[in-house]
């Protein structure tokens, strides 16, 4: 009897919730026919998942943004739960006859190469990597060292203790390229001003430094940051995804003594709770690059694998974010020097070099 009562009560609640008005019948098919031939843009995430607030999320935002530029774009994604899923996921989209298959992340390079060779007429794209000799894979790479160079210069100029620090999530080229640029930016500052600002956590010459071995472990980020602070650093750049949030927390607890240079997406948007500690952000504009690629493809234009896309300061593919809450704290002279430096890098009078930088 009790079960009957429960069912009845549940049924009544459900019935009450189900009393809404029915929407008008929409004639089917009229919406899509106006948009022309659909262009299926299918994205395969790496193991970070679709809402990693970084990388995959930026690329997905780009695919969706392309829909506003070209209304025939049909965005889709599939998340990979392990390295072993990359190949089946890419192949699944080949079977589904997607027009454009986007692999997000350099770690998918080998799988993309293999699947692209199997289906030579299928258009692929890859973020943060380039596949040698594959004409059907559109590479999207970023000269992040250029923007990190500017951030290093700002950090060196802003530091009061004369010590700045950086660390990475893993020792992989897309991470160390930030650290190279940062260290060079500091070195350039020292040369220009005859100062001796030190960089902790990374030595460009030996390519050795501090790594958290994780892109998610915030406690690790906290521990590394506390260690840097005790050695006297007052500006820290974590290149470690979610791990960096631990560093932001240390900075927040320091009462304004320590500040953070964020990476990938403007920290005041992607991690706004820590906006008051972000000096600036080394922005890697994945969203725009992906949007551009998808929109170009959807408009029926070819995506040529050579040269592909290279984000630089010049085309705004990489940049440093506004100083946000530090706008008043950063010296106007320093800001001017940074703008000049940016122009010099674009003009080629200041050379930024990193072994990890895409060619």
């Amino acid at each position: 009897m009790r079960i009957v009562a429960i069912l009845a009560a549940g049924g009544l609640t459900l019935a009450a919730a189900a009393c809404g008005e029915a929407p008008d019948e929409t004639p089917s098919g009229s919406g899509s026919s106006a948009a022309g031939t659909p262009y299926k843009a299918c994205m395969v995430t790496d193991v970070g998942g679709i809402d990693d607030k970084s990388f995959n999320a930026s690329a997905w935002a780009g695919v969706q943004a392309a829909k506003t530029a070209q209304s025939n774009v049909e965005p889709e994604y599939v998340a990979s739960d392990a390295e072993a899923s990359y190949e089946p996921n890419l192949r699944g989209y080949v079977t589904k006859k997607c027009n454009f298959i986007l692999a997000v992340g350099g770690l998918m390079g080998d799988s993309t190469k293999k699947v692209a060779a199997e289906s030579p007429s299928q258009q692929f794209g890859i973020v943060d990597s380039a596949i040698d000799g594959a004409t059907n894979v559109y590479p999207m790479q970023f000269a992040t060292d250029q923007a990190a160079f500017l951030a290093g210069y700002v950090a060196a100029g802003y530091s009061k203790s004369g010590k700045v620090a950086t660390y990475g999530g893993l020792k992989i080229p897309p991470v160390t390229v930030f650290m190279d640029g940062f260290a060079d930016g500091v070195a350039y500052y020292n040369k220009q001003k005859s100062k001796n600002v030190q960089v902790l956590g990374w030595t460009k010459a030996s390519q050795n430094g501090t790594f958290a071995e994780s892109f998610t472990d915030q406690n690790k980020g906290k521990a590394i940051a506390s260690n840097f602070v005790s050695q006297g650093a007052d500006v820290i750049m974590p290149v470690a995804g979610g791990t960096g949030l631990g560093t932001a927390e240390v900075a927040k607890g320091s009462g304004g003594k320590v500040s953070v240079v964020w990476v990938d997406q403007d920290g005041c948007k992607s991690a706004e709770q820590y906006c008051d500690v972000f000096l600036t952000t080394v922005v890697k504009n994945i969203t725009d690059a992906v949007e551009q690629a998808v929109a170009t493809g959807a408009a029926g234009q070819p995506l040529s694998a050579d040269p592909g896309y290279l984000g630089t300061l010049e085309n705004n593919g990489v940049s440093i974010a506004p100083y946000n809450q530090f706008d008043s704290k950063v010296d106007a002279g320093l800001k001017g020097e940074v703008d000049k430096l940016k122009a010099d890098i674009i003009a080629g009078t200041v050379k930024v070099e990193s072994a990890s930088s895409p060619k």
Partner: protein, 416 residues
């Protein structure tokens, strides 16, 4: 598995068909297993409806226009499960493309190939758990043993320059030995000190996993061309032969069938098999009868570990071809579910592993075609096992008659 319908002779006056029907609707293992799978798929369907925003919206005006809610739910579920089937067994579109020449034969057999590819390692880890179970031990260490098997097989696969065939055999044996060693430890500790194998094997899982992540980034193991955590690739001579291209199925599944036959023989025909079943049924009585319980436990864990190690070896030599931190995936723990679903019998375990492989392969397609998260497959797999482990629940839901065979549930009640 079919014994319950056949072993009872028809009663006097009853036709064979009537007896068959009566037994069919009783709580025998086959019926309960099939109904558990059906129930799990139903629960999966409900979850799909609940998690799909568009479909949920149509339930908001259920009373105004009920047809919307039902057609949209039906469309969602039928396309999702159709994709599950197309991804796991066969895709009619690929078959017809092959028939009219617009597609290759590879695409036509890819679904089955994927199913068997995912199933192969699960057969080994499932057998490992099932065999230990029959001897009264609960081997939770399948994951750790598989990881060690991955490591030893991969290292043998890239470190020794050996000719084709021999190299693959050596690498497989290395995986076997690695797993055996990792099973020997808890077996010995259990036999000598009485330390509980569940606790020891869980701890050894952690050690194996962390050892793997440490080992990959060492010089000589790490791939020199890559700076991320990935080992050198296994030599082509050590890889398990596969058809190639998108058809990933490899010799691993053939090996899995052979090993299943071997384990069936070991369990039912060999002296050791008799001893382990005796110890599993009643250690005290087995001891009185002159069987060395300590020796049986140790040997049993060594064999179980070796099986899981082979599972790891097939994974790394058959599909992954290099060590990464997640190279073993979840095969060890999935092996537990496979063994439970297979009722701890060798051939049952093989069948269960193929079912899990099919769900996984179909899940990939369901994810990319219907946008249903792969997690749903995990839920369905888990729910199947929940119903298997609680046969009384299935019995009540479907008003099944009690089975005359007392076997149901007996295998579940022992071991922990």
């Amino acid at each position: 598995m079919t014994t319950t319908t056949e072993e009872k002779a028809p009663e006097k006056g009853d036709s064979f068909a009537a007896t068959f029907l009566r037994n069919l609707w009783s709580a025998n293992t086959v019926t309960v297993t099939v109904l558990s799978i059906v129930l799990a798929l139903v629960i999966g369907a409900i979850l799909m409806i609940v998690s799909d925003e568009d479909v949920r919206a149509t339930f908001g005006y259920l009373t105004a226009r009920p047809s919307d809610a039902f057609t949209s739910s039906w469309n969602l579920i039928s396309t999702a499960y159709a994709d599950l089937f197309k991804g796991a067994i066969l895709d009619p579109a690929a078959i017809s493309a092959w028939a009219d020449g617009s597609g290759g034969w590879q695409a036509a057999i890819t679904p089955l190939s994927e199913t068997l590819t995912y199933a192969a390692p699960l057969v080994f880890t499932g057998l490992s758990v099932a065999l230990a179970f029959r001897g009264g031990l609960f081997n939770i260490g399948g994951q750790g043993q598989a990881v060690i098997g991955c490591i030893t097989a991969a290292v043998a696969g890239f470190a020794f320059p050996l000719p084709f065939v021999l190299h693959a055999v050596v690498a497989l044996v290395a995986g076997l030995i690695g797993g055996m060693a990792w099973g020997f430890l808890p077996g010995l500790l259990k036999a000598r000190t009485g330390a509980h194998e569940v606790i020891i094997t869980i701890m050894l899982n952690y050690i194996a996993g962390l050892f793997l992540t440490w080992l990959i980034i060492q010089k000589g193991v790490q791939n020199a061309d890559r700076s991320d955590a990935i080992s050198k690739p296994v030599d082509a001579s050590a890889q398990l032969a596969s058809i190639g291209g998108p058809v990933r199925v490899n010799l691993g599944i053939v090996l899995a069938v052979l090993v299943t036959a071997g384990v069936a023989w070991l369990l039912n025909r060999s002296v050791f098999g008799f001893e382990l079943r005796a110890v599993g049924a009643n250690p005290a009585a087995a001891k009185t009868a002159g069987i060395s319980v300590a020796k049986t436990y140790t040997l049993l864990m060594v064999v179980a570990g070796g099986l899981a190690g082979l599972g790891g070896a097939t994974q790394v030599l058959g599909t992954a071809h290099a060590l990464t931190p997640a190279v073993a995936g979840n095969i060890g723990f999935d092996g537990l579910l496979v063994a439970l679903l297979g009722r701890n019998r060798p051939w049952g375990t093989l069948g269960a592993a193929i079912l899990f492989g099919a769900l996984r392969a179909g899940g990939n397609r369901m994810q990319s075609f219907s946008g249903i998260s792969l997690e749903l497959v995990t839920v369905v797999q888990a729910v199947i096992v929940v119903f298997i482990a609680a046969p009384a629940l299935v019995k009540t839901i479907f008003h099944l008659r009690a089975a005359r065979s007392a076997r149901l549930g007996a295998s579940m009640a022992k071991g922990w």
